[in-house]
């Protein structure tokens, strides 16, 4: 846990300072311009909306009459207070559960000799691909108090207990299990990159394995735990689908469902929705500030200039216990909801008179899949989604790498501003930020509006915080001495990044790009305002099916989406594993 800095090597600094004298300000300036375009400009539009009654494009900036009326209205509305506290309770509880599950899983997969770890690791990521709306629908099918499959099964076996997922505890559980992969991705990557000699030193000093985990292992990956929990919390804050499907029947409103109402009412109240969105941003800013405060002044570098192999703890016969735990978890988070979706996708209607009706095979058919693939928009939306996903992952990954490196690996002035700007979009609900992008970019010259590129641009901007934070964890773990060694050997800045930083951060880069790809494929809010008939994407079509009241087609299409994502994720996991092994051991 040493904090070696570049000051220890004055010669190296002198070598690199001359080109940096002009290069650094130009670089920071360029990044700030890009961020201003992607973040500040749309946010200004949002502020404009929140502080007035006008639409900046329709009414023009001349009509801007600043007023804090919307903020006061929102702050004084007791329903907003209730929605706010409900959101904090659901997302707070969900985050705690996500951390427990994600951390336990990453430890089991990375640091133990539990059998079939590869399978467990892959399967545990499945909840991440499921659109929130579909997750909500799946758990409604399973855990509705009246007709839920779980309750039908309990009734059949004569047990009086009943699940009720149309409740706050239902929301917390579903949030927790679906957003645990966020925590897992961060902590697994950190555990994989951690030098095991620190744990070995602890055990040599007489500490038990249990003590080592809680005093060495978890504290060392604290940035990853914090980053993962912060990200999952703010992502949950912005989710509409789960509370819409599970909260609405119990009249539990959260901020996103309130915002959706504002945008869906006739006439839509975007200006008020923008005010609520700004309040959400304030909450996020406080959380980010708190995270930085906790982490400031500490070094978490655990990847040093020494080759190592991640340590695997021999659990002995207990490895079957961890395996059983993993299986139970996978059954609950993957098998049950997937089964619910499969039943919904293949069954003509979801009415079960009793448990035996579940096995009436006459009720099952391919009718929903046939209908989905009869729709000419299906293949178009799949193709468009893949194109947008790839463009977003590549462009967003490159930009996030540039930002992450500048913020975490340099001392240039202005890097804090870059960090702040890159974090800002995280808490703006998709539906609101979608209209901000429309307001901001519709007037751009060059015919960008109406193309696939404007969707990619929106996704890059919207998910920049997720990608940058995911990458930052990797950067934080690469010891400065490795770069300094490269400088001493005469490498320039770009050469050092290419030969040292990029290879070491490659697992994180691939993970971030994968995350970006997944998020882009699921994103609805920004797509809704920017898609055209030629650029329709899967998320929009999924909403069409859901809004049409057709659970069967919604489930069938979401299974198609999940399958596509699963194949692509398997591919990137394989690539990531190959490149990591090549980097580390060749």
């Amino acid at each position: 846990m040493t904090a070696t800095s570049a000051e220890a090597l004055p010669a190296a600094r002198q070598m690199t300072q001359a080109p940096r004298r002009w290069g650094a300000p130009l670089w920071v300036g360029a990044l700030l311009i890009v961020l201003a375009f992607l973040v500040i400009y749309p946010l200004l539009m949002l502020m404009f909306g929140a502080l007035s009654d006008s639409n900046p494009i329709v009414d023009g900036f001349g009509a801007f009459r600043p007023s804090a009326k919307h903020f006061f209205d929102v702050l004084a509305n007791e329903n907003v207070h209730l929605a706010f506290f409900n959101a904090l309770a659901a997302c707070g509880g969900g985050t705690i559960l996500a951390v427990v599950i994600g951390l336990a899983f990453s430890w089991i997969v990375v640091r133990t000799n539990t059998p079939f770890k590869g399978f467990i690791a892959g399967a545990s990521m499945i909840p991440l691909f499921v659109p929130p709306l579909v997750a909500g629908v799946a758990w409604g099918i399973l855990g509705s108090p009246k007709t839920g499959l779980l309750n039908t099964a309990l009734k059949w076996v004569g047990i009086d207990f009943r699940f009720n997922f149309y409740s706050m505890s239902g929301l917390i559980i579903v949030f927790g299990i679906y957003y645990a992969p966020y925590v897992y991705m961060f902590t697994a990557s950190a555990l994989r990159n951690m030098d095991p000699s620190l744990e070995e030193a602890s055990e040599v000093s007489g500490a038990s394995a249990f003590t080592t985990i809680f005093t060495i292992t978890f504290p060392l990956i604290a940035p990853a735990i914090l980053a993962g929990s912060l990200l999952s919390f703010v992502v949950m804050l912005g989710i509409y689908g789960v509370p819409a499907a599970l909260g609405a029947p119990a009249n539990i409103n959260v901020l996103t469902t309130y915002i959706f109402k504002l945008t869906a009412w006739s006439p839509p109240l975007y200006n008020t929705a923008a005010a609520v969105a700004i309040l959400l941003m304030v909450v996020t800013a406080i959380l980010v500030w708190a995270q930085q405060k906790v982490l400031s002044g500490k070094s978490y570098a655990t990847v040093a200039g020494k080759a190592f192999r991640p340590r695997s703890l021999n659990l002995g016969p207990w490895r079957w216990f961890t395996f059983a735990l993993a299986l139970v978890y996978l059954f609950v988070v993957v098998v049950l909801p997937t089964l619910a979706l499969v039943i919904a996708a293949f069954r003509k209607f979801l009415f079960f008179k009793d448990f035996n009706a579940l096995f009436d095979w006459n009720q099952y058919s391919w009718v929903h899949f046939n209908s989905v693939f009869d729709n000419p928009l299906t293949m178009l939306s799949i193709w468009n989604t893949l194109k947008v996903g790839v463009i977003t992952a590549v462009a967003g990954g490159a930009l996030a790498f540039a930002i992450g490196y500048t913020v975490n690996r340099t001392t240039v002035s202005g890097r804090r501003s870059i960090d702040l700007l890159a974090t800002l979009p995280v808490a703006i609900p998709g539906l609101v930020v979608g209209v901000a992008y429309l307001w901001a970019w519709i007037g751009l010259p060059g015919g960008l509006y109406g193309t696939i590129w404007i969707l990619a641009l929106a996704f890059v901007a919207r998910f920049m915080p997720d990608t940058v934070k995911a990458l930052s964890t990797s950067f934080l773990q690469i010891h400065k001495e490795l770069e300094e060694a490269a400088w001493i050997c005469g490498r320039g800045l770009l050469g050092t990044i290419r030969t040292v930083v990029l290879p070491l951060a490659k697992p994180g880069v691939v993970a971030s790009m994968t995350l970006l790809f997944v998020l882009a494929i699921r994103e609805l809010g920004s797509s809704l305002f920017l898609y055209t008939s030629d650029t329709t994407v899967m998320a929009v079509l999924l909403l069409d099916y859901y809004e049409g009241g057709n659970t069967g087609k919604t489930a069938a299409f979401s299974l198609v989406q999940t399958a596509i994502l699963g194949v692509l994720l398997g591919l990137t996991t394989w690539i990531s594993r190959e490149t990591t092994q090549n980097t580390r051991f060749n």
């Binding site: 494009i57 329709v58 609405a248 869906a264 006739s266 839509p268 809704l528 069409d544 009241g549 659970t551």
Partner: protein
């Protein structure tokens, strides 16, 4: 079941009589002149913005293309409020992509009427004047409220709107869409207070009602058995009934609140001729018959070319809201509705 098959056959038969049996050119010329059709085919297609269900509108497009296969219709679908915002913003930026717009909120469309060109279908005189809010905007789609129930759960099915206040349906058996969800639900709520009585809401709310944000989850819950009974737009439940869902729907004798849409051709339409043909076809007897038979819509034609199943024209009367009251009463009455049903807006 036999009755259902008979009615379906009868309605489709009516549509078939209206559209079939003529050579292709003769069918086409019912909706435009030779010159208009040639010009429309040269344009090749149009862009259609709709707030209606995507699948429903795709069926309409498919049927239109049976008569006009050379005119492709590209659809952009978004929920009502979002669609209006998009139209306003695109128009202000000079990039309005729509040739034809189809929207359920006549009030909001009226505010945008300057974006639309003068247009009148060939059968303009056949439409009810109270279904119109502007001479530029036409009710290409008309929806109506019915009472739906799960046939596996309800032994004694409701037959009137007033039945939905009976104690036998207490304890969350009835579900309904919340008042402020949009113009369609507001129409039903207005009907309840004006026609069924001032105390109708209070009587019904006292039973304990499950509330839903929109019609789609309500119909889904009804089919699944989460709720047993629900007022629903007929087109939401109709296609499910046809496909064999354990549900049925009736039109109540006190009246059927209807929602005429407001559809128009934009001034900036890139394909004005194709747009005109599309509108002419949708508003024609053939287009309306198809929507009644296949999609469960109602019509705003004075003399309906067909009736949905169970609709006895001697008994069932449509109820169209007074547009002035529709705008004026909305805010205070919705506040009262929210309070009565304990809905937090």
């Amino acid at each position: 079941m036999k009755r259902r098959t008979f009615t379906k056959t009868a309605v489709l038969g009516t549509a078939g009589i209206l559209t079939g049996g003529l050579p292709a050119w003769a069918q086409q010329e019912k909706f435009g002149t030779k010159e208009e059709i040639a010009a429309a085919e040269k344009e090749g297609g149009l862009t259609y913005y709709t707030a209606n269900f995507a699948e429903t509108e795709q069926e309409v497009i498919k049927e239109f293309n049976k008569t006009f296969p050379k005119i492709k219709v590209a659809m952009v679908r978004a929920p009502g409020g979002q669609l209006i915002t998009r139209i306003k913003t695109e128009a202000a930026a000079g990039k309005l992509g729509a040739d034809v717009v189809n929207h359920s909120d006549r009030g909001l469309m009226l505010e945008l009427q300057d974006l639309f060109q003068d247009y009148k279908p060939p059968n303009a005189a056949d439409y009810r004047p109270d279904a119109m809010v502007s001479p530029k905007l036409w009710p290409g789609v008309t929806l109506g409220w019915a009472i739906a129930y799960n046939t596996q759960l309800v032994k004694n099915a409701p037959k009137t709107w007033m039945d939905l206040t009976k104690p036998e349906y207490k304890d969350k058996q009835i579900g309904q869409v919340v008042g402020p969800s949009g113009g369609t639900t507001w129409t039903r709520i207005m009907f309840e207070k004006q026609v069924l009585g001032d105390d109708y809401w209070a009587k019904q709310a006292a039973l304990g009602i499950s509330l839903f944000p929109s019609g789609a989850p309500t119909s889904d819950s009804l089919v699944r058995g989460e709720i047993s009974i629900a007022p629903l737009l007929y087109n939401i439940i109709y296609t499910k009934i046809v496909e064999g869902a354990p549900a049925e729907a009736i039109f109540a004798p006190e009246g059927v609140p209807i929602i005429p849409y407001a559809d128009g051709i934009t001034k900036t339409a890139k394909s004005p001729n194709a747009s005109k043909l599309f509108m002419n076809w949708r508003l024609s007897k053939e287009g309306q018959s198809f929507q009644i038979a296949k999609l469960g819509n109602i019509t705003s034609l004075k003399e309906p070319p067909a009736f949905p199943k169970g609709w006895d024209p001697k008994v069932i009367k449509v109820w169209v809201p007074n547009f002035e009251q529709f705008e004026k009463l909305r805010e205070p009455w919705l506040a009262e509705w929210n309070k009565t049903y304990g809905y937090r807006q």
